[in-house]
Symmetry: C2
Subunit: 350 residues, 2 copies
DNA sequence: CATAGTATCGTAAACGTTTACGGAAGCCAA
DNA sequence: TTGGCTTCCGTAAACGTTTACGATACTATG
């Protein structure tokens, strides 16, 4: 037969066994060559790599994972459905991109584990870890009490959370510095003469809502002011929620003169709702929020807190790897709990 | 020993072997019981299921996939990074939710395969399929010429695309009815007296740009009008792109009186840019676009095309399963190519 | 009672890979 | 020549499932 290219370049590679007999080498050597093991002749390694490339051979995931006890996959759990994701449009996509630049160095793949809105997140996660789907997990949208933490800790799965929780099992976490945001916002508004400040928070038990509210209350207290209970607005973290808040806000008899938005997606709806009620954002009502792709294109431009989502993703990935024995030596001794800073970008809305 | 709860309920289940000897049954029977095979006594099945539940046993993914040659996973490929995804991620989250309601019926899991912006999509996909990661693939963001189609077809991986392409390999697809959108938009604008209509399209070679432009041109021609080449605006599919379009548009000497936006993310930026140039959306410039979570909260409210993303997800999933031998009998003989209709929701912007 | 059929279960061979182990050379020094 | 190293490679045993096959006990039928 001819030296190559007889008829098998169609990508019908069966497995390492076939590749081995094509090269007339044992499968053990082929495997070692592909995996960069030391005890293989450099020339045969080259032959193997070339043959694998030209025949389109890539080691089967299941076989490899079964033998090695590791899948090379890190899962980022998130919930699907339109109303649920509190973050605005491109939030996660940017974070993912940062995470992947780190993972790529270790041949790890990031996949998003999509929990349907119809399934209980705890059950979903239990299934995922029991099946041995991923070597590590990233959790987001952490709740005040979050049973997922305990589940992963019990199973000893390496994981990190993007967000804190009262359910702390000693795992590493990364969270946005909502305390810093609350403090800077309140300080700024008070310095500009505001005495009645409203805040928003998610309608459900997302942990960040508690953190944010508590810190706002504390900072106001430091200025000798108090947070009126009627000035705490809960809403779904989307445009409609913002609109709803505006309606409630405008209906109040003692109306606040400023509002701090913890969520970015509600901004557009809030603007609209205020305008409809005859309240001009930035004139009749000061607004401070979170930066998002469209916050700078609103009128007036939103005074907002900015952060680098890509860098956050990088830090998230490195902190996770630091807890995984196989990778820990690359990322030594880092602080396992990190509050991610946000910068205030002045706009015209406050 | 006691009947249950001796000390092993910590979730340290090793595998089916351990579960079997706990029950004093062979592993074959345990497996059959768990998988609903017929030849197993109903009472032992109940025992097995209860023990598995209480011990938290779930079949290991790698072992099962290796033996069965199928993973029970369907991958939805998408690219990460903020500038790339034309759709906001609320778009995909809603689609996912629809897809999952179908998959859940067959114990299939949907995961998002995240291709980093630093990696070539073709290489990424090649890796994924060669590793045998998923039993089926859903492709989105299809390009005018898309090598991914050929790759999957050659490897005989069942797949469906959300979007068309000139690279047609006979696979099933689902796409938004951009022709219908173009036609309805142009007809409406012309009926209202517009003679100079501009359009937008992505800056890269996404297929939908070609479809949309061609149909707009054809429909204008039907009205005896022509599409001015200078009235075709290419931009990144995000807010900044819309702003850029507004600036170019306002700088034109012969300015169009209407513009149709194929992408939803650019709307906010476009509004802002127009206002800054002294052009009032809805008064000095008619605008028709795509519905998004915030399109109804802009002023003026955007006249836009709406679609049910969840239903689209359901159709997408069912069409994919119809091509997979193991599930085809559930979803018989459906049209493999589907143009998804969109409804015009009148606003105040045109 | 003999036989066939049925219900249930155990045994063992796959699935594709990695890796511990040992063996066969080749080399160098004694 | 002998012995010990080193370099390279082949062999075979895992990893955790599923499933074809065969075995056993029991039931029904003649």
């Amino acid at each position: 037969m001819a030296s190559r290219g007889s008829g098998e370049e169609r990508g019908k590679m069966k497995g390492i066994r076939e590749l081995a007999e094509h090269l007339d080498i044992s499968i053990g050597t082929v495997s070692r060559a592909l995996n960069g093991k030391p005890d293989v002749n450099e020339e045969t390694r080259k032959r193997v790599l070339e043959a694998a490339e030209s025949l389109g051979y890539v080691a089967n995931q299941s076989g490899r994972a079964l033998r090695k006890g590791a899948t090379g996959v890190i899962g980022f759990m998130m919930q699907t459905g339109s109303e649920i994701t509190g973050q605005g449009d491109t939030f996660f996509m940017s974070v993912f991109d940062g995470v992947q630049t780190v993972f790529a160095r270790h041949k790890l793949d990031l996949v998003a584990l999509l929990c349907s809105s119809e399934e209980d997140p705890n059950d979903y996660l239990k299934r995922v870890v029991a099946r041995g789907f991923a070597d590590g997990i990233i959790l987001s949208a952490t709740r005040r009490h979050d049973a997922r933490f305990e589940l992963l800790a019990k199973r000893k799965i390496p994981f990190i959370t993007l967000g804190r929780s009262l359910t702390d099992v000693g795992q590493p976490w990364l969270d946005l510095d909502f305390e810093g945001m609350a403090e800077a916002s309140i300080d700024r508004l008070v310095a500009r003469g505001h005495r009645h400040v409203a805040i928003t928070r998610p309608h459900d038990d997302m942990n960040l809502g508690y953190v944010f509210e508590d810190q706002c209350r504390a900072t106001l207290a430091r200025h000798g002011l108090r947070l009126d209970e009627r000035h705490i607005f809960r809403s779904t973290p989307n445009e409609a929620g913002g609109y709803q808040i505006a309606r409630e806000l405008s209906a109040l008899e003692t109306r606040p003169t400023a509002v701090v938005l913890i969520n970015e997606a509600i901004t557009v709806g809030l603007y609209r709702g205020l305008v409809e009620a005859g309240i001009r954002p930035g004139h009749d009502m000061a607004i401070i929020g979170r930066q998002s792709p469209h916050s700078q294109f609103l009128s007036p431009r939103l005074t907002s807190f900015r952060l680098s989502l890509r860098d956050l993703g990088i830090a998230l990935a490195e902190s996770l790897l630091a807890t995984m024995p196989a990778f820990a030596h690359f990322y030594p001794a880092r602080s396992a709990r990190l509050l991610w800073p946000m910068d205030l970008v002045p706009g015209e809305s406050d």
